[in-house]
Symmetry: C2
Subunit: 549 residues, 2 copies
């Protein structure tokens, strides 16, 4: 593997650990826990792993000699910067327990456990991946661990390799499945512990006990770098409106963090659109009015940040999508052989009045995409909709109307961007490099403590790494019951942007100023070697959320 100069220099970085993890530890038990909601149902589903205490590690003045452990590790779901460092921390952690400990990596996600595809992660391999981005050390995948057959097949290979514990690095769904797996293995006394690690760039896996998921910090810094560069371009040429869509699935954490870092003219927050029950036209009006206001001062340029999930949060579009999916599901046979044009006609003639009006209000390309593009389950592919183009086109139409009415007199040229894949595998920031390494090292401590169904937890993250608090949180504690894909399921509550939270409030208090005045900030690229205020600061979301705490 030929390496860039930065890769070589960065390999030598020694991630910082919480001081408590630098020596021998003992687990201090807190009080028994309860799930965030639906306590009785969750307890019934997790009889063996419900109600466990929170754990906090403290120094152990009288440690006993450790025994070798064999551990399996799995990367689950979308990539996030720092995944390799979780594995490196885990490796160093189990080697510290005993030099004969071994680490196995299951290949291409949870499917590797089920299909018995794995490699042993030796120190030679581990050293190639320290402080690097990507999940390529063992690959990732989206197979969901949900069935007894999968669990039993996984157990087979664990037994074969003498594996005492599995570490699953994933988002809310993967950690939900980790909890189910932990419960099952515990229920049959399989002798395999299961530990989760909170991963996702989307930032939607966090709660009272998990301050942030790893990868969010780095990904938002990469996006903010390029958004800042675009804003500087925008402010130099003064002739384009840039519509920038950002990854993040349903939640708008990424868009909000990038807005706080770069101060764009407009940032839409899906959760606010939903809370205010806004129509697409109202979102368009909001943007068009800012464009028109800026034009009055000769500023025919600007930037608009759009969260990927926006379209699903607009009540009218939600209804339209639900009916589209329904029409196609109940008329599957009838519509199978139709041409695109016939299918369009069929759909339009079957939509109710309200939804027909909604689809007519959309640009033709988007309406077509909604009617014609299907995923393998026959559902509308919301993620394929180019919301950034949809909005810029609708804003253009609105401005033309305003111009005709004498309410607008400016120029409106647009450019579009979508950032997502640029950030998921970036080299981790110092924060994520440290945080991930600590999460992995801490997972080894949880294994050594003999527990299962816990998520590795590192807290106090706005403080320097030495002051971080290490421990474990029972995954069941984060769960509630939700209706998904037609059934009630126990799941980890997804954290959306809270409109009463400090990050949103900071944004809301400043956005009118950012809209009219050009207040762009240019964060520049992530730095690894410079002054601490440049290299080591965690995300603004994290800092604002914990300000004064």
């Amino acid at each position: 593997m030929k390496k860039s100069p930065l890769q070589k220099a960065r390999a030598a970085y020694q991630p910082k650990l919480p001081i408590v993890l630098t020596g021998a530890v003992k687990a201090i038990e807190g009080k028994p826990t309860q799930s965030v909601a639906n306590q009785a149902e969750i307890q019934a589903l997790f009889p063996n792993t419900y109600g466990l205490p929170e754990l906090k590690f403290e120094k152990n003045p009288a440690p006993t000699a450790g025994k070798p452990v064999n551990v399996g590790v799995i990367l689950s779901g979308g990539q996030a910067p720092g995944g390799h460092n979780v594995i490196c921390g885990l490796f160093d952690g189990i080697k510290k327990i005993h030099r004969d400990s071994r680490l196995f990596g299951f290949l291409m996600g949870p499917g590797g456990l089920v299909d018995h595809k794995y490699i042993e992660l030796t120190s030679a391999i581990i050293n190639e991946y320290r402080n690097t981005g990507g999940f390529d050390i063992i690959g990732s995948g989206r197979t969901k661990l949900e069935t007894k057959d999968q669990f039993d097949s996984g157990l087979e290979i664990c037994k074969e390799l003498g594996i005492n514990a599995l570490v699953i690095i994933g988002g809310d769904d993967s950690n939900t499945n980790a909890a189910v797996l932990a419960e099952y293995y515990k229920s049959i006394n399989a002798g395999v512990q299961v530990i989760g690690c909170p991963k996702t760039i989307d930032g939607d896996l966090k709660n009272e006990c998990i301050e942030t998921s790893f990868g969010f910090d780095t990904a938002t810094k990469v996006y903010s770098e390029v958004i800042g560069n675009i804003q500087r371009d925008c402010n130099s040429a003064k002739k384009y409106w840039h519509f920038i869509k950002l990854m993040g699935r349903s939640a708008s954490h990424i868009a909000l963090e990038c807005a706080l870092q770069t101060q764009p003219n407009v940032c839409i927050i899906s959760e606010e659109v939903e809370a205010k029950d806004m129509t697409l036209d109202q979102v368009v009006d909001y943007i068009a009015n800012i464009v028109a206001q800026r034009a009055k001062y000769g500023n025919n340029f600007g930037t608009v940040l759009i969260p990927e999930g926006l379209i699903e949060f607009i009540p009218a579009i939600k209804k339209l999508i639900a009916e589209l999916n329904n029409i196609l599901a109940i008329n599957a046979a009838e519509t199978a052989g139709l041409s695109s044009a016939q299918l369009e006609e069929f759909i339009l003639s079957h939509l109710n009045e309200e939804n027909a009006a909604t689809i007519k209000s959309l640009p033709t390309t988007v309406a077509r995409q909604l009617m014609l593009d299907r995923d393998p389950h026959g559902n509308v592919q919301v993620s394929l909709i180019e919301t950034e183009k949809l909005l810029s086109e609708m804003v253009g139409k609105r401005l033309a109307e305003m111009q005709a009415a004498g309410q607008y007199d400016g120029k409106y040229s647009t450019l579009h961007h979508f950032f997502g894949y640029e950030g998921r595998c970036a080299d981790p920031s110092n924060f994520d490099a440290d945080y991930c390494y600590a999460l992995g090292f801490n997972a080894a401590c949880l294994i050594n403590a003999g527990v299962t169904g816990y998520m590795s937890s590192i807290r106090n993250l706005v403080k320097p790494a030495v002051q971080w608090i290490a421990g474990g949180i029972p995954i069941t504690m984060m769960m509630n019951i939700e209706h998904r894909n037609g059934a009630d399921k126990p799941v980890i509550q997804k954290a959306l942007v809270r409109l009463d939270g400090a990050p949103f409030k900071k944004f809301a208090a400043q956005r009118d100023d950012w809209a009219m005045n050009t207040c762009y900030i240019y964060p520049g690229p992530i730095q690894y070697f410079g002054p601490s205020e440049v290299c080591d600061q965690p995300s603004l979301t994290l800092r604002y959320e914990h300000q004064g705490k």
Copy 2:
């Protein structure tokens, strides 16, 4: 202006100067020069500024006291990282000549000179912009300085402000116009010198005397950062082919440099496509075969770099575009009122057989775009064509044919990216920060030497900055006569990728390996504070071009 921590830290960076420019200098004249071609015609057009000698600065052991100079500076055309540092170097340079020297910045490009829009650039303003990206200090614009009226209007404001010299920071076209302006002012003894500075991220303004244009280094490093991140993602998920289009106008320097830095599976070089007279189908076949070969080993993923200008280099498309432009020009009246559908029909019925076949071979969306989207002059808007989607779609069709013929058995999912605006205003790399500062400082020395019609020249760029050679090159020396927009014009020769040059040869020697094996390099973000091998290396293009010299 609220600043990011990096902006604050970076403001303190002191750009490195060639050692010769740190003291007093005298200009040493070389031999008289000749234009690269069409010597007689160029000489006739530039009687006062043709044949000037190259200049090289050396230490001046007996300097005389300088007099204050008033200088006007103009940013012309597209943004490039480092423009602010050219201005900062120029400012420091003229202040070194005499503390009462003054710098005026014309606003929003050459139009500011013509329309008398300017600000005085004081040290308070200059200090806000040291080592920053963007052209926002005075803005940029694309007005072309070409007419006597414009020149005379510019002279008026120069006289009013007591300006002795203009520095025009621009690409090949802007420097061509700078030469024309210099000739005109000289011919009327206006008393205003004109100095050019070589700017463009595209890298197509270079020759025997100008080793590289500024901005290329930083922009390609930003693109390589995000391409590297995407490649790491690609190699982790192993399920997508990423088609990545890169800015660069006609020339493929940016794509080639990024390929050298990141080692993608495929990179198309427009100049090679043209030299080999390749059809679009052949380009598609080339990519499809690599996709199919990789699929044989289970590698259903990869990356493809595509230069922005590709489509114009494919002979068949070139012919098609020429005929489309012609049909619309000679039938302007007849086609004015037609609907989209009618216009399509009209065009299809008027195309010759060969071009009709070409347009039918294109995906519908692209064919429509070619027929229907026009620029204000009625021409096809080639730059709007989403070449990355065009190619991925055509490769998909070809793979389907190959699959039907039993030649391919794989999965083919695609994602698309276009990088351009992300890099034009990035904070300059150390190389560009130093190079730009030296170019500006050196321009002040050329002004002090009393010359006009010169381009600021800093050479020996692969060596440490202290060893750089400073001087001036007569702009007429870089010129030839080309047929543009229906007339013969003296222009600076555009530098396209040379297929016999070291950078292309390095690429060509390795690309088969990169195609089949996954050899991705991950350059990571530009670093400013780390080890020299990480922070200070110039582009690979520059290094390979000067290897062994």
